[in-house]
């Protein structure tokens, strides 16, 4: 009876191993819309095997004559807002506008009000000379004009206006030191992304930077991290004067709130002592106020990143803690939308917390370069693998007879489970992970041969397995350490090694236990 059970167990394990192998190597093909399709999850490849986007970034050579504010020492203090620019920016920035920055729970309501106010301001700039339709609009226009004039007069007292040629990159900044610094900062930025993978090249003469990036979900973020210098400024929306810049910020972080099933991402800026005072001052000045005739007036600040407006807003409360929370994106019940906003907030926080690029780059070309490695060498690699596995299996069968055959089938089953783990555990397949995959298979064969050797010395199955496991795991402790350390690294070339090793060892241990039981 016991012998029959043993036979049934052996046959069952063999059948399961064969079935798993058939599934892993042949796939599960089911008809879908009239076509037979493999329903197994596809492998995810790294950029060496999948291909990559080759982005060329050249130094931005644009220049523009602008009227700017300068202080007594002649330092640049912002670009004077022109009427036309004002109008254009307002239209562009509608999506970035929000209500009272200090009262996030009111954002949605105030945003609606803001849109009305914005339309009024737009009328002011575009149709300033025309008669407006409603009394309210007329009043708002007049009040805004008066307010703007008063504001401009005040600013002009403090700052001179000058016409300067504003270059994206000043000539004195274009030097090898800044080329190097830019490259290092770009590397640091790209390495801040989890699961990063990139190659970077730099021309030391022209400063051109070529970055090779995988065409995956991180692509847009990576690209923006390269092309954004990282200058964060809070400016007077009405005049264009810089009120606060990055030098006043101690730290930035991305935070979130969840209220009434709505998620909202925020960029939290913590200012230094000087910044705290200025923030306090502007939080009392850039507010919504009601004039004598009951009309509401708003004075805005805009938060700009590299001259791109993140948000246009005003303050509801006086800020005396030196902390400013800026809503990023809209409050949303859609978690994916929130994640996108949270990622944007994190990216901006990272840029604020780190050095600004000394040079401005612009994207000059973008090509996807397909990898031909699988196409060129895939078949050869497959043939070699099959031949090697067949030879090892034949060796095991010849040397250990039925036990060798049993072990050979189980080893192929092990490879099959490992490939399934690769598909479903999001292990990125890179050349490095393929090498480690082979190493895992090799470790498994060493283990098999150890067990078979013990069995041939008439040891019981349990004893043979336990002794082999003890010997193997004690000697491969360095490999286990490498597997764990490498798995937690952000670089794809490194964590693909760690993940493959980890799953290789894990599957090996589980398979051994299954056979043991």
């Amino acid at each position: 009876m016991e012998k029959s059970l043993k036979i049934v167990k052996v046959i069952s394990i063999l059948l399961i191993a064969i079935l798993v192998s058939l599934i892993a190597f042949g796939g599960i093909n089911l008809p879908k819309k009239g076509l037979w399709k493999n329903i197994l999850k596809d492998f995810q490849f790294g950029m060496e095997l999948e291909g990559y986007r080759e982005l060329h970034f050249a130094l931005d050579d644009s220049e523009e004559e602008k009227e700017v504010f300068v202080d007594a020492e002649g330092n640049y203090k912002g670009t004077v807002k022109e009427e036309s620019t004002d109008e254009a920016t307002e239209t562009e920035n509608q999506s970035g506008e929000t209500g009272d920055v200090t009262a996030p729970e009111q954002t949605e309501n105030t945003a609606t009000e803001n849109t009305t106010a914005e339309n009024a301001t737009a009328e002011n700039t575009t149709d300033g000379t025309q008669e407006t339709n409603s009394v309210t609009s007329e009043n708002t226009t007049e009040n805004s004009e008066q307010q703007n004039i008063a504001e401009e007069a005040k600013v002009e007292e403090e700052y001179k206006k000058e016409t300067r040629t504003i270059k994206a990159n000043e000539e004195e900044d274009i030097n090898i030191d800044n080329f190097e610094k830019s490259k290092k900062l770009i590397q640091k930025r790209l390495e801040s992304i989890s699961q990063y993978e990139y190659n970077i090249r730099q021309d030391s003469v022209t400063g051109e930077i070529i970055v090779e990036l995988p065409d995956n979900n991180n692509f847009t973020i990576s690209q923006s991290l390269i092309s954004t210098a990282g200058n964060l400024e809070i400016i007077d929306y009405q005049t264009g004067l810089i009120l606060l810049d990055k030098s006043y910020i101690n730290s930035a972080s991305a935070i979130a709130s969840a209220e009434n099933n709505q998620y909202q991402a925020y960029l939290q800026l913590e200012f230094n002592k000087e910044g705290k005072e200025i923030l306090n001052k502007i939080s009392k000045e850039y507010i919504e106020s009601t004039s004598g005739d009951g009309t509401s007036e708003k004075k805005y600040v805009s938060v700009n990143l590299d001259d791109q407006t993140i948000i246009r807003t005003y303050f509801g409360d006086e800020l005396d803690q030196g902390i400013l929370q800026i809503p990023i994106g809209n409050a949303s019940t859609n978690y994916d939308e929130y994640i996108e906003s949270a990622q944007t907030a994190s990216r901006i926080a990272y840029l604020v917390n780190n050095e600004t690029l000394p040079l401005n780059y612009k994207l000059s070309s973008d090509n996807f370069i397909k990898s031909t490695l699988i196409e060129q060498y895939g078949l050869y690699a497959l043939i070699v693998s099959i031949v090697v596995l067949a030879l090892i299996s034949i060796y095991l069968i010849i040397k250990f007879k039925f036990k060798g055959f049993y072990a050979a089938v189980l080893d192929i089953g092990y490879i099959a489970i490992l490939t399934l783990a690769g598909r479903y555990m999001n292990v990125l397949i890179t050349l490095n992970s393929l090498v480690v995959f082979v190493l895992s298979i090799l470790i498994n064969y060493i283990f098999t041969i150890k067990v078979l050797n013990y069995l041939s010395k008439n040891e019981s199955k349990k004893s043979a397995l336990l002794k082999s496991m003890k010997e193997l795991y004690i000697s491969i402790i360095p490999i286990c350490i490498v597997a764990i350390v490498f798995t937690f690294m952000s670089s794809v070339v490194i964590n693909s090694i760690g993940m493959t090793l980890f799953w290789g060892l894990f599957v090996q241990a589980i398979c051994s236990l299954v056979v043991l039981i």
């Binding site: 190659n199 970077i200 090498v435």
Partner: protein
């Protein structure tokens, strides 16, 4: 530490090889694969399905013995990226003429740009490996320190560290001297060799502990 005659000769040989490797790297640098070194590239948007073999044949005629890499551009198999160490005006003209002839395209020398692509620095390739490798090595050495604390631990640690560093330096020297083009996977293979070496060292230490017990 007393070394036998054979070990002395071996150590001397290894030292000489490492010195030779350093000299070669100092004088000629590391030989890196074409795709990692500074190269010229031409992107051709042919507009109809191209075969890599056909382009390879054309490149062989145009570039002769020069190393060339051909890759497909974008997703529609109708564009190619041809990479060579350098592309002269004459080679460019010949290449364009032959492509035009083969695919009935109308590329001209003027509208086809040869892009100079800078090199990828070896230090940038090694960069991601440094932190995990150092952390792993420290953890492994700590493990050895705890596991074999009853033995002459300082000697074991120094020996382990020395053997790993020496092997890696030897491998790097061999790669430099033989002028084998460096490809990124070699760095991984070198790391694997170091780990296997540690496995062997720990295995031997375990064996000697078992014998002593």
């Amino acid at each position: 530490m007393k070394l036998s005659g054979f070990k002395k000769i071996l150590l001397l040989g290894i030292t000489l090889l490492i010195v030779a490797g350093i000299v070669v790297v100092a004088l000629r640098g590391i030989n890196v694969s074409l795709i990692l070194q500074k190269h010229d590239a031409i992107n051709l948007l042919v507009g109809k399905e191209v075969s890599i073999t056909d382009i390879e044949n054309i490149c062989r005629e145009v570039f002769g013995d020069k190393k060339v890499i051909i890759r497909k551009l974008e997703l529609f198999n109708d564009s190619v990226n041809i990479v060579a160490e350098s592309i002269t005006d004459e080679e460019k003209t010949n290449l364009i003429n032959k492509i035009n002839e083969k695919y009935q395209t109308e590329f001209t020398v003027e509208n086809t740009e040869v892009q100079t692509i800078s090199n990828i620095r070896v230090r940038d390739l090694i960069r991601p490996y440094i932190r995990p490798f150092v952390i792993s090595l420290l953890v492994i050495l700590t493990y050895i320190l705890i596991r074999f604390r009853k033995k002459n631990i300082l000697k074991i640690l120094l020996k382990t560290f020395f053997v790993v560093v020496l092997t890696e330096a030897l491998l790097a020297s061999i790669i430099a001297i033989t002028r084998i083009p460096l490809v990124p996977i070699m760095i991984n293979l070198m790391a694997i060799i170091a780990v296997i070496e540690l496995v062997i060292i720990i295995g031997n230490l375990e064996k000697s502990s078992n014998v002593n017990q």
